[in-house]
Symmetry: D2
Subunit: 437 residues, 4 copies
Amino acid sequence: MKEFFPEIQDGIPYGGPDSKNPLAFKYYEPNRVVGKKSMGDHLRFSVAYWHTFKGTGADPFGAGTFDRPWNRGKTPMGQAENTLRAAFEFCQKLGVSHYCFHDLDLAPEGETFSESCRNLEAMVKMAKQLQDDTGIKLLWGTANLFSHPRYAHGAATNPDAHVFSYAAAQVKNAMAATRELGGENYVFWGGREGYETLLNTDMKREQEQMARFFHMAVDYARQIGFEGQFLIEPKPKEPTKHQYDFDAATVLGFLGAYDLWDHFKLNIEANHATLAGHSFEHDLTLASMNGKLGSIDANAGDTLLGWDTDQFSTDPAICARAMLVVLAQGGLGKGGLNFDAKPRRGSFDPMDLFYAHISGMDAFARGLLTAHQIMEDGILDNFIKERYASYSEGMGKQIMSGDATFETLEKWIMEKGEPVRVSGRQEMLESIFMSYC
Amino acid sequence: MKEFFPEIQDGIPYGGPDSKNPLAFKYYEPNRVVGKKSMGDHLRFSVAYWHTFKGTGADPFGAGTFDRPWNRGKTPMGQAENTLRAAFEFCQKLGVSHYCFHDLDLAPEGETFSESCRNLEAMVKMAKQLQDDTGIKLLWGTANLFSHPRYAHGAATNPDAHVFSYAAAQVKNAMAATRELGGENYVFWGGREGYETLLNTDMKREQEQMARFFHMAVDYARQIGFEGQFLIEPKPKEPTKHQYDFDAATVLGFLGAYDLWDHFKLNIEANHATLAGHSFEHDLTLASMNGKLGSIDANAGDTLLGWDTDQFSTDPAICARAMLVVLAQGGLGKGGLNFDAKPRRGSFDPMDLFYAHISGMDAFARGLLTAHQIMEDGILDNFIKERYASYSEGMGKQIMSGDATFETLEKWIMEKGEPVRVSGRQEMLESIFMSYC
Amino acid sequence: MKEFFPEIQDGIPYGGPDSKNPLAFKYYEPNRVVGKKSMGDHLRFSVAYWHTFKGTGADPFGAGTFDRPWNRGKTPMGQAENTLRAAFEFCQKLGVSHYCFHDLDLAPEGETFSESCRNLEAMVKMAKQLQDDTGIKLLWGTANLFSHPRYAHGAATNPDAHVFSYAAAQVKNAMAATRELGGENYVFWGGREGYETLLNTDMKREQEQMARFFHMAVDYARQIGFEGQFLIEPKPKEPTKHQYDFDAATVLGFLGAYDLWDHFKLNIEANHATLAGHSFEHDLTLASMNGKLGSIDANAGDTLLGWDTDQFSTDPAICARAMLVVLAQGGLGKGGLNFDAKPRRGSFDPMDLFYAHISGMDAFARGLLTAHQIMEDGILDNFIKERYASYSEGMGKQIMSGDATFETLEKWIMEKGEPVRVSGRQEMLESIFMSYC
Amino acid sequence: MKEFFPEIQDGIPYGGPDSKNPLAFKYYEPNRVVGKKSMGDHLRFSVAYWHTFKGTGADPFGAGTFDRPWNRGKTPMGQAENTLRAAFEFCQKLGVSHYCFHDLDLAPEGETFSESCRNLEAMVKMAKQLQDDTGIKLLWGTANLFSHPRYAHGAATNPDAHVFSYAAAQVKNAMAATRELGGENYVFWGGREGYETLLNTDMKREQEQMARFFHMAVDYARQIGFEGQFLIEPKPKEPTKHQYDFDAATVLGFLGAYDLWDHFKLNIEANHATLAGHSFEHDLTLASMNGKLGSIDANAGDTLLGWDTDQFSTDPAICARAMLVVLAQGGLGKGGLNFDAKPRRGSFDPMDLFYAHISGMDAFARGLLTAHQIMEDGILDNFIKERYASYSEGMGKQIMSGDATFETLEKWIMEKGEPVRVSGRQEMLESIFMSYC
């Protein structure tokens, strides 16, 4: 059997913080216990099939540069099989526990819809075997409803019911494939669910179509007994100018408005949050405080550029802020940290995939250690608790219990006068936070 | 009685499109009938007290440049009275029907809370008289809960219940003033309702506090019989980095989540929409399609700059897109077009206030005429109707009625195969749209 | 001979401002005289070969949607010949006078460098014949030094001298082709001349390499007697994060620093200017006031999105501001207005190419008419002249002539005291400007 | 004598990396030797008078919150004296070696120009004494030519020669003050040198005026024997929309074009670089490779916000990248690291000034240690050297020496064919870099 990564024979070792070996982990030790769980169980890293195995390095100004050996098979299915083998070899050598895919990453689109279905079925069978052989698991599956020209004007939100139907049929099969492979989640990222111009768009109708689609998905999952978690992934600006799932707040509002709240959680991506003008930890916290943080696309954007750069995280402070949210909610449950990230176009050597993932895994491992220590020490948490203490007693308590009114509060202010001002101590807290990083 | 704008004696005349007189309207004729209403009734223009009469021209790098004669009274109350007279003189000479204020625009803050209340009461009395004398009406009132240092960490979302209470007392009085003056709306803009860093913030708790505050406001309005419309004004990024009312979608989600849906509509501002990454017409449409477009802050931002520049609109195409949304929902009801806009710092002459408002009024008047003609002709509307026709029959109808499932759709696709692709004709529609502008 | 645009038989007629026919011009009449020249001579419109004939509609999230009949030939050269025929048919039917190309738009890359050269030679021969047959001219040629994987780390700025040499050889042939076709300009857009990270980059050395490359180009042009104008096209952020030709100011500084000032002008693109944080008219003016505005890439960006959207201009006010700069410098000379623009991905019908170009041509024609009228009337120009009048006499004159010093000025201020402040009248001027649009 | 910071009695101690004391340094030890210099000599920290002592906490939406005891004197000069005492007390207790000021930070503007001059003289005398008493030095002085209304339309670039003259007189005195205090640099930041709209602006003329102003400054410095370094500080977008000193490249181009190259270096600010769309290290490197990096404004911006937030640096990786540039050029010479940064508006307690500066000093101290270690190890430097090795021999050497032409290179390529592609290894290098942080 051909090996695709012969340079790595014994996996990626742990080298420790002082190691300068770019093929060793500085912080990631999967079995090291942090709090009550192992690092591996905290982080549940996943490799993204599309970027890592199907990415080409193409950009709007140039052709692909990633000439992968596994994509050189004679037939589309031959390439798909090679790719799957490369994927499991990579995951095993890297030492990650999970992977994620779109239907069309795994299996090539056929001449007809039914050929596409057969292709997917065949690849799922092979993937199942490789999962059994290696112990690597499927974090989530999804359907690619954005690359094919038929979806140029949307999938569920397409003005043509024929395209809606095609998308429905495709999701049906992708969901079945996910269930078959024991996928723990199923993700909806509405790449083309949005619009370019209101001159040709009925936004209200399109959002109703989208809601219908989600309800059908819920019904189908119930019918086939799929027990994975449904996740919606917010994203603004790309590929349509106005994406309906702009950010976490928008998706939460949509779930509430269309009676879908109980069936979905969110898959928050760092780069999507920053594109929407929020910090990564903002969208994580907003999802989490609503009981809706299901999983994470663990990457980093470039805030000096205006698009989704999907880079590997390198900043341990940002990762620590993310892990603080995750630890505070007791972990990600069925979710995990999926590397929706790719090497730059000029890093076209397959070995760059290792360098890049090691970099990202170390950044989050370091972030986990930092976050854990911060929570253990409790300095930051206690500061916050004390800061809001006035709502736990007296008039503050009445405010929150609904017993106060504008009139009682006015009377109280007439008596008490001006409040004492208290510094928010942002710089002090940042300094303390950074001393942990 | 001192006149503050002696240069204008007979109001601003209508000069027509070919006029180059900067002190004449090119498009705005309040009594011209457009469709079934006069221009004046369509547009319901309002002057913003804070920018136009209390604005100083200060920016983060320099002192105020607007040395207004009406702000030269000997006492704070004397200045306030002069300002009020200047305001009504200006509105009358300009020919607008409405104005808007914050409590602290109208009346100076006193040494104590009760002195502040008395100041406001006195000014309201005087304003009522001037309204009666001139026929100029109050579009909306609001409370300034963001300028005073006590609100540095928020008003309703302040970590200190004492500050929450102060804000409540202040809104109580501002709402009473608004009712007293026949204000048609009451606006909530949460300038400091948001956070700078999660290191000192409990976001969940703060949003619950905000919801409590809104419920109290609803209760108080009911109690005093205030029948104006409550409006929330979304805004991102300023003055706190993470504003809780980021954009229309966020506010709608909040209203749904905290059982406030029935009591509030939105006041959409152009510059706030673009700061959030949306177009003006996007946030207008989103609000309108949810039955929630209550009023408009009619200004323009500079999308090459990253903050709220609050400029007067000059672009008739953008105004036409806005007026298309307004006409499609049958007008703004109790709402109007409030010029939340200011001359640049270097335009410090009081006459610049006339030039600027004329410019903005003409832009919207021209936009109204364009939008009306587009709707009359129906070309654009018909394009949209036909584009979605497939949902009105056959499988498309079943999809929307809930009769289709993933399984029936898959079966249908197996039979029907690939959809026919249809161009969205964006460039053609833009060309047609611009031919109306 | 196959016709590629059978829907258009008699060219695009002039329909006038009230026409709603999307296949008629509302403002563009090539023979209408404006000032001393015809509209056609003022505007010198050019079609961009890459977008219009070789564009695929692919974006980072999806495959091409533009299934052009002319790209269906059996061999690469067969496709190239079909495309060339389609291009001349399109330009003729649309009624534009010029076109622009990259070497690899015109002729396919061969297996070897010399095969690529032969391909280009053959296509140039055919193009020359079609130019003769139709009277359509080449505005400019250029070489594509950014799409091929060999240029992943730059062309002239590549760390490998082998790649530098390849780029040099390619430009030599592209320049020869441009000369052969009577191209009036030769453009350098350094798509990959920049860097992603300083961790692997020697910026000083790379800029020296770039200067060497330009000097070689100047020498080669002199040697072969190429008399076209050399143009550099500034652009920031794409495709490398830090482009060396960020904006007009940066390129002008580079030309000065590396002794290239006399040999180059600039090709200013609207969308590139806005991506750099400037307005279109800012970069036009900066180039023009330095005697360096050579040609224009006439498109529009979307300032709510963070990348080069290359849309067709629709805004007549922005076009008027551009044409004011062009008229003020007495026209573009050898340059022209090249539509570096493409229909959106969902506008995949070849007819959309007509709608889009008509829209852009009308926007600039309308802008020309507006700009001409503004200059004729002189209101705006006179305002500016008076505003700076103080430098034409007294102390102001001494300042500009170099006769004043800090000491004489201090003495003068001690005597004269505080200056009188004068409003900049921005809103009045905007209102007047818009009354022309 | 009143003490303004009684909470700090023995200065800020060094606590080491594990300390959680927010009033101790974790990394900054001024006397620790790093390479051949002490940390203090490497970093030459400076406190910014305007933010730290004159900042009010006002923002565009609210009044000042920083109620400083030293600003409570009875007369403007009394306040100025108190502030100066507070400044030296703060610098001493914090342990920084330098400070920076604008003329109007130090001394209040008088009723007349000559009174302003006398005020400045008096304060300079007092500052000189305090410098002598404490050993604290002046890093640079400058003049505030942007806050006063007279400068609303620019100082040197004002359309009125009277304002130009006023600015000249003011700079004359500020420069004399700087010389008197042994200031090592004099900074020009052209806050209002730019424009809002071309409708009222002659950009060419304004830039010529600016050049005249700089030439006068050079002449005056020569005349009075001022031997400090002249520095220009680039900044985009604020306070005028189009600032003439947009970024480092723009200023360098300007210096070259107007014969000012030999007399100026740059003062690069992190937040200004990112506002212009560059990274901090990009503008540092661009200045440095041109021999023009004179000094640094050491702060951090918020790239999710669109304005100059002037925050204290907390990110040690960004500081390390900056210090790599500084170390590579052998230090900053007469320059230093000036904290042009302020606590957030909600951090209004004077103690927050200590927390904030400690945070910034530690971030740069940590960055220095990292950068030093990286240079010692040479891994990253060697990677770059090898990457460009092909230009040191063979055809690459001929290219750089000017011996190669497009023709010789074409011949060579015909022979050598396609280059071998080499990965840029960005992710590997980032991983190595982060392992030092």
